[in-house]
């Protein structure tokens, strides 16, 4: 038999509540209790509102560059909903919704984008890493974090988020490969939002799915409608069960779309068609869940109005907390370089505006000791 089959494999796609409001009872029933569903909806609404507020803050010069999460909320939210509180959540920068659900004070995110490292100082009990600016690098940390838990015999997993663009980086490959070959329970969650700034998805991955990247490692993988919170929750449940039970990694491609610009520094009209955006506006995860709840009779316009008010109040409180923080000490950036500050650094800090030669004042003080 000169030609045999060395491997045969396939990838599933999961969708439960589709863009037309079709709901699959077989998978969706009892997946998310009504009370939880309302809570998740409220989470999304807050996150969406904060995006809006942040955009305005940037435009009015009160904040630096900010990446909106708009349209992608269901992915990180569904994940955070399924994960345990002590599972690591290792995100990029479009996972605000999941982070807030986990308990991260939203002003932390604003502070980060306001150019303040204190936005990254996070309560360790939240098991959350800070926003990752260098694309594709954080998945290795997730792998190491999950490995540390495994080493201690704990049953914690790590879930890491990244974009379609990030899957082009070498570090993505190395993280997947380490996890697969060393049996580390990491869930790799790719938010395929079809764009990496102005570069379309096919330049990052011309294969029919991003999910198939996992086949390279023999890793379990699924493609999921990332604008469908039910599908995300379903896939995350499979993934966490698998990871926790077998100590093995899992890959989820959440198919979604970046409804806003890449960041406030970007203007997406330069490179993408309004029609495409319009198409995806119809698939907005928030609209989808709201219509579903209305159809089920657990949501109505008066609840919506009340929520809008609540969210309005909450976001302004968040902004107040972010803007109300005292200015950082001007030597703040020296103090956390090391557990113990080296003497030379301490001298730099102390003399930073008062002296240059002065770094060795004795030298100036006593020119009479000259021998040279």
């Amino acid at each position: 038999m000169p030609i045999t089959t060395a491997l045969s494999t396939e990838i599933k796609r999961v969708s439960i509540l589709d863009e037309h409001g079709q709901f699959d009872e077989s998978l969706g029933k009892d997946l998310i209790p009504d009370a939880d569903l309302v809570g998740l909806y409220e989470d999304m609404a807050l996150c969406r509102k904060l995006d809006e507020v942040a955009f305005k803050l940037q435009r009015s010069g009160r904040m630096g560059t900010y990446p909106q999460n708009m349209g992608q909320e269901a992915n990180s939210l569904g994940a955070a909903y399924v994960l345990n509180q002590d599972d690591w959540l290792v995100t990029c920068y479009r996972e605000n919704c999941g982070l807030f659900h986990r308990g991260l004070p939203p002003e932390k995110i604003l502070l980060h984008w306001m150019g303040d490292e204190r936005g990254n100082h996070i309560d360790p009990n939240l098991c959350v890493t800070p926003i990752a600016v260098p694309i594709g690098t954080q998945m290795l940390h997730a792998t190491g974090l999950a490995w540390a838990s495994k080493y201690r015999g704990e049953k914690r997993v790590a879930c890491t988020f990244f974009g379609d663009g990030a899957t082009s980086e070498g570090d993505f490959h190395e993280a997947m490969n380490f996890a697969a070959n060393l049996d580390i329970p990491v869930i790799f969650f790719c938010q395929n939002n079809h764009w990496a700034i102005s570069v379309p998805g096919r330049i990052q991955c011309s294969a029919p799915t991003v999910a198939q990247r996992a086949i390279a490692y023999g890793m379990d993988t699924v493609q999921c409608d990332g604008n469908d919170i039910f599908a995300v929750v379903h896939c995350m449940k499979e993934a966490t069960a698998h990871a926790r039970e077998h100590g093995r990694p899992y890959f989820i491609e959440g198919v979604t779309y970046r409804l806003g610009d890449h960041t406030t520094a970007d203007d997406a009209r330069r490179y993408r068609d309004e029609e495409e955006v319009e198409l995806w506006r119809q698939r907005d995860p928030i609209i989808r869940i709201r219509e579903y709840m209305k159809a089920r009779g657990i949501w109505d316009d008066s609840k919506e109005a009340a929520l809008a008010e609540k969210v309005e109040a909450e976001t302004s409180a968040i902004v107040q907390r972010a803007e109300g923080i005292e200015a950082p000490d001007t030597s703040d950036f020296f103090t956390s370089m090391f557990a113990e500050m080296p003497a030379d650094l301490e001298l730099q800090m102390r003399t930073r505006r008062t002296s240059s030669i002065g770094e060795n004042p004795s030298q100036i003080a006593s020119p009479e000791t000259a021998t040279g």
Binding site: M114, P134, I135, G170, A196, S198, V199, F334, S356, I357
Partner: protein
Amino acid sequence: MANLTLVQAINLALVQEMEKDDRVILLGEDVGLNGGVFRVTEGLQKRFGSDRVVDTPLAESGIIGTAIGLAMGGLRPVPEIQFEGFLGPAYDQICSHAARMRTRTRGGLTVPLTIRVPVGGGIHAPELHSDSPEAIYIHTPGLKVVMPSSPYDAKGLLIACLRDPDPCIFFEPKRIYRAFREEVPEDEYVLPIGKARTVCEGEEMTIVSWGASVVQCMQAIEKSGRSIELVDLRTLYPFDMDAVEASVKKTGRCVIVHEAPKTGGFGGEIAARIMERCFLHLEAPVQRVAGFDTIMPYYKLELEYLPDADRIAKAIDETAAY
């Protein structure tokens, strides 16, 4: 002559070289339709086609590694790394291959490429968008390292890099991308790699600097009211020690200014060389005004980190008083 920003001057240099030489191709993240996140390559894909201005996958090692192959294959690739903080993933391809291929093959294979990289702080950008890693590449034999401080210099130096038979890193100080305009000749011209520029002459002291810091130095000099000679290195490897030596031998005093952390920064090398060459002429130790040995802070504090006219003026006064 046109009155151009640094961004426009670079764009013009690229246009002119691409028109002259179809071996010149651009590649990188968002360099195509979007014209780069700083719009440096604006309009070039439209003008030269998507074969010559190529949006690549988001992978810096891939960008440099394939550019090395393109260069070995006879082209003149001009990869862009979106911010200096993302040179990291490309470090290995730059240092292990681009810098080594000619000497590894004793001239058999060469890598004529120009890596364009926005560099430095001062624009309120996020983390890893404000660093100054030039010393890393100066310490890597086999590379030429260039950093202009004005639109005029940018055009002439970039054309020099694009025509250079060896790998160049062309650092573009983003703080002055659009900070001011300057008369830039329409015609092509080349500024030689390895030659400094004396920005202003003076007798009392020499200041050596490069990139965006040159602007801060000029402010400090004005502030000080002293007769100070400002040497803009323009190219960091090879660097123009002769110009520095001549100036310091004349003035006897020197301050070096750069944004990168002080320890291990290129200022140390210049200072050591000045001592080697001008020992008996020095009337004060060479001082450095630099970034501190900390991570560049997020933007709320970035101006506390970056050398500014005040800090430079302080060093001038102290060095003068020594």
